[in-house]
Symmetry: D2
Subunit: 138 residues, 4 copies
């Protein structure tokens, strides 16, 4: 898989008094988006954790170009733009549904670890299903 | 102990586009307030969990009288207004520091349970330190 | 309308270290659920605010019977169980999709106010579309 | 001013089921930290907004080295490591109080804008009070 489009509607709780979505909330949406990306590969993140695989975030980043507002339906175009032995990086682009102007873009880099937090090689099962994309900048 | 005053400042992230603190955030403040109440008794909630005691919330309630706003310093006057064998109820009143008008009042009722979620009697250690207050309404 | 079923999946960000959904998050779900209830009536809450109607929460309450867990798909059965001149109360019941055991139930009571926070009569447009339900207890 | 140390205790609501503070919550702490940094300069962010200055986040980033856990008292060492005409960048380092190992480090870049979101020059009043630090990497 190359891309997965995750949709979410901006909740009132996600706005702040600037009348825009709070900048820290994007990282919750990114999390929900990558979980669905993984699910579409045929694996649930809940199952991964039960099997003893964890994907803690080691780095997160977001650039905000235009605000998202209350009640906007957002599309978070999710992909993987880096995959090494024991780590991978998700890349996210945020749009309002049906529009082409990018609101934001971001990345989260994850280590693949066992329950003792020791890095482990990303299982083939997952590795073979991910098509790494190249992105203009990340 | 009868009362503990917990102080917190309203963060930008806790506001919404109505320019007031989001109603769901009060329950995070209540949680932080009761943790400090317990700590002042000489017990940390972290230690309780390590010892196998958990206090899940079985009921929560809040009445909102006046809004809390960004950057307000809030005082959350915290007490226990009910204690039974295996459960207790915290009572919270929210003020702006130095002011007497109540912004909100609420309760959280907790079961005392072991790791298997079976109700257990509240340990004497805790029981003897709490002075149950009577409140106008809860 | 009598009932609206709002669906949401429990995010990782919504769990806490007890391995359950944090009790304060239910109020975010309730907010998202009532917004969709209103939308199904043919009115968006965003539009209401633009027209100068606001529905601040004056009271919120939730009883927690069983925990919701990460990745659970929740159905929040939403209705109105009280409607007066200038206020109404939403009633929520939380289930795991496809299951019949209730995880939680709660209410939020709202005033209908104008931009100066003065109570105003609920518009007929809204009033006539809501079928008030009776609930076992609220 | 060069550095400001902001302290915060990790709330239960800020943990997730990995038993660590949720990665998105760091951005709320960064926000609280920079607000206090500005306050120590003699200006409150609330006042800035009243005067028509806003500092939206245009970029945010965090690297996570070691987890923060429930009840940890965190010190967020806050500084400014870039200041241009109309933008500046805060730099944050997160420690457990009394310890020297860095848990995380991050940045937030802000535009200085007027109510119409047009970039404006950072007022001298603020500019002259900030001592820009150089950081190993940001």
């Amino acid at each position: 898989m190359k891309y997965f489009d995750y949709k979410t509607r901006v909740r009132y709780s996600e706005t702040d008094q600037l009348h825009v979505a709070y900048y820290g909330r994007y990282f919750e949406w990114f999390e929900a988006a990558r979980v669905e990306y993984i699910r579409v590969l045929g694996i649930s993140y809940a199952t991964l954790e039960e099997k003893g695989y964890f994907l803690p975030v080691v780095e997160a980043q977001c650039a905000y170009h235009r605000p998202a507002r209350y009640d906007d339906i957002l599309v978070i175009k999710t992909s993987v733009n880096m995959m090494k032995n024991t780590s991978l990086r998700f890349y996210y682009e945020v749009f309002i549904e049906g529009q082409t102007e990018k609101l934001a873009s971001g990345t989260t880099t994850h280590a693949f670890v066992d329950p003792s937090m020791k890095p482990i090689r990303i299982p083939e099962l997952i590795r073979e299903k991910i098509e790494v994309v190249s992105t203009p900048s990340a």
